[in-house]
Amino acid sequence: MKKLLLFTLVAVSLGTTAEAQFSEFADNPSASQFTLSSEANTLQIGGRVSGFYETRILKDDSNYLKKSHNGWGVKDFDMDFLGKTASKFVYEFHISLIDLVSAAATNNTANPANSGIKAAYIQYKGWPVHIKFGYDKVPYSQGSMSEVWGTPYWSHANLYGGDLFSRRDFGLALNYRFMKDRINLYAGAFSGMGENFFQYGNDASGTFEYIGRAEFSYPAKMKYHIIDQENSPTPVFRIAANARYADKTQPKGSSINVDAPDASGAYGIRVISGKRLAYGFDGIVKFKGFSATVEGHMLQLKPTDTLDGLYNSTTRSKNNNVVNAGGLNAGLNYNWEKKHSVFSAMYEGFNANDLYPGTQEWLYLAYAYKVSGFNSVFKIEYYKPLTEDKVQNPLHYTDQIRVGYQIVF
């Protein structure tokens, strides 16, 4: 606790002097991203560097003394290359240097879902339907599609952070917008292996995961920004519904759990040997600096093997060959632009498997002081499990705080 208070005081002093320290970021005309232009091509080079001090308040558990989460944490060492051509092609290559280094140093065992590549795609925007091919975020879940660096939080919420469903994948995606871009439709076919695509490639089933999403915004189109940085003079909202389906029933002799053990994620439900349907909704409203978000997801999993661990040894009469999961997330934010401040609060509750006892509830509180928007920002996040799922996600801590700084260039 003393260490936390000391660090907080250091962070405060840094934060209050940061405007001078990083003044070149606001004043230098060549700050922020860098762009190169030729006759028919434009290439932008950007990136993000951020890190924090993290502390977890450990439970009074004499058998657990590990304090590896009480110390420094690196969030981003990212580089991004975004190009556009006069013939209406867009291409992007986004890499996380810290993930690349970690993967190389640990033979990709530290966090196999973070391969180091966050985007690598080409897109054609010359037709009414935009076509994207490659690796990028999939069009599912507002929270997942929105950048966390543009909020006071340090990471995405658990519900859409990648444990229940993948956030990125390799595949083909179509996007069509009409009615002044107020209606926005997505459809795509992806590998279904999510962030583990680079580790395992396609699975043995030879099938895709299909994802669709429909959005309606009014009275104007909306981008995937959670905070109302524009202090919208009129209320603006978006509602959306999305779904994703994959039948990864494996051929004889193959098993996702054996062939791609990391792909199924923390709860074993991100990719399964069998049929998997996920559907959900989300919404956001912004007005005069306030923004409120809500989203919910349901998952219906049908593992082919009746002895699959997801069934938790329950009888067929009890489980009906279906495992359900899902949850709800709601957030409230206020952008106090005059004071360069953003306040955020978020609640979520979810059940990662209804055949196991227990559910999870989490509370997030966060504050950001914007020295130069979210390009140069001090952020503090408080994170608390309100209800612990002692079977599927046993915890050794009761609270977590992260205090740090972020630069986007």
Binding site: S32, D181, A220, H340, F343
Partner: protein
């Protein structure tokens, strides 16, 4: 509880370090009209010689319209990402943000005359959002969106000087009117009246438009503002006099 107190202390200390700013005079629109057929309208300029206005779109298109924004004519030659438009003599000048170019069109038939390369090293989509002609200094002005820099150019687009501008978070439009430069901020939703020589801010007018991208003054000094996200043209009266 101690953690909460520490968190609140951080927030209060940071908040208390804010700066004082010039007062903003409120300025509300009187009417609006949908801009049909003009996707993502980004700037508008009025031509007193014809009574028409010219509107550019993020889709790289230039339109000649009536005062209400109804399309009369469309330029055949397109660019990538038109963000600023200005009329001078018998030509129209358009800023293409992504490739950093200025297009010179003939006003009479909207034919493309010449393309001038201009230089901006910042973010691809935070470059020259606006173009205006400074009649006092007899030079063109290209204004970058973020960070804000007013760049003076000769009439054949050779760079003369750069003036960093502070006070708002971004600039999406620029217009010359009766001896003053006026700037438009999208994120802060305001019009700023600036000194014609050193471009220092003299007055701020807060507007109630979402995503204002470009603006014009007509012969009676009434203002019209284009909104990209709303795809609308908002009609205002004259700027209020500041006491």
């Amino acid at each position: 509880m101690r953690k909460l107190i520490a968190l609140l202390a951080v927030a209060l200390l940071l908040i208390s370090s804010g700066k004082k700013e010039l007062a903003h005079t409120k300025f509300k629109f009187a009417d609006w009209k949908s801009l049909k057929g003009i996707p993502e309208p980004s700037d508008i300029v009025y031509d007193s010689a014809t009574g028409h206005c010219f509107i550019v779109s993020d889709h790289g298109k230039l339109f000649e319209c009536d005062r209400q924004g109804n399309i009369i004519k469309k330029a055949k030659e397109e660019g990538q990402d038109f963000e600023g438009v200005e009329v001078k003599d018998s030509f129209i000048y358009v800023s293409d943000e992504t490739p950093r170019k200025v297009y010179q069109y003939r006003k009479s038939d909207l034919s493309l005359v010449k393309v001038f390369p201009v230089s901006w090293g910042g973010a691809m989509n935070r470059a020259f959002e606006s173009i205006a002609y400074n009649a006092t200094k007899q030079c063109f002005l290209l204004v970058s969106q973020q960070p804000i820099v007013i760049v003076e150019y000769t009439t054949d687009f050779k760079e003369i000087a750069r003036y960093p501008f502070k006070g708002v978070r971004d600039i999406s439009g620029a217009r010359w009117h009766k001896g003053n430069l006026y700037l438009l901020s999208n994120l802060d939703a305001c019009i700023i009246k600036c000194d014609p020589v050193n471009y220092e801010a003299k007055a701020y007018y807060q507007i109630n438009v979402l995503n204002p991208e470009g603006f014009m003054f007509d012969d009676s000094s009434n203002i019209s503002i284009t909104s990209d996200d709303m795809q609308r043209l908002y009609f205002f009266k004259q700027l209020p006099t500041i006491q």
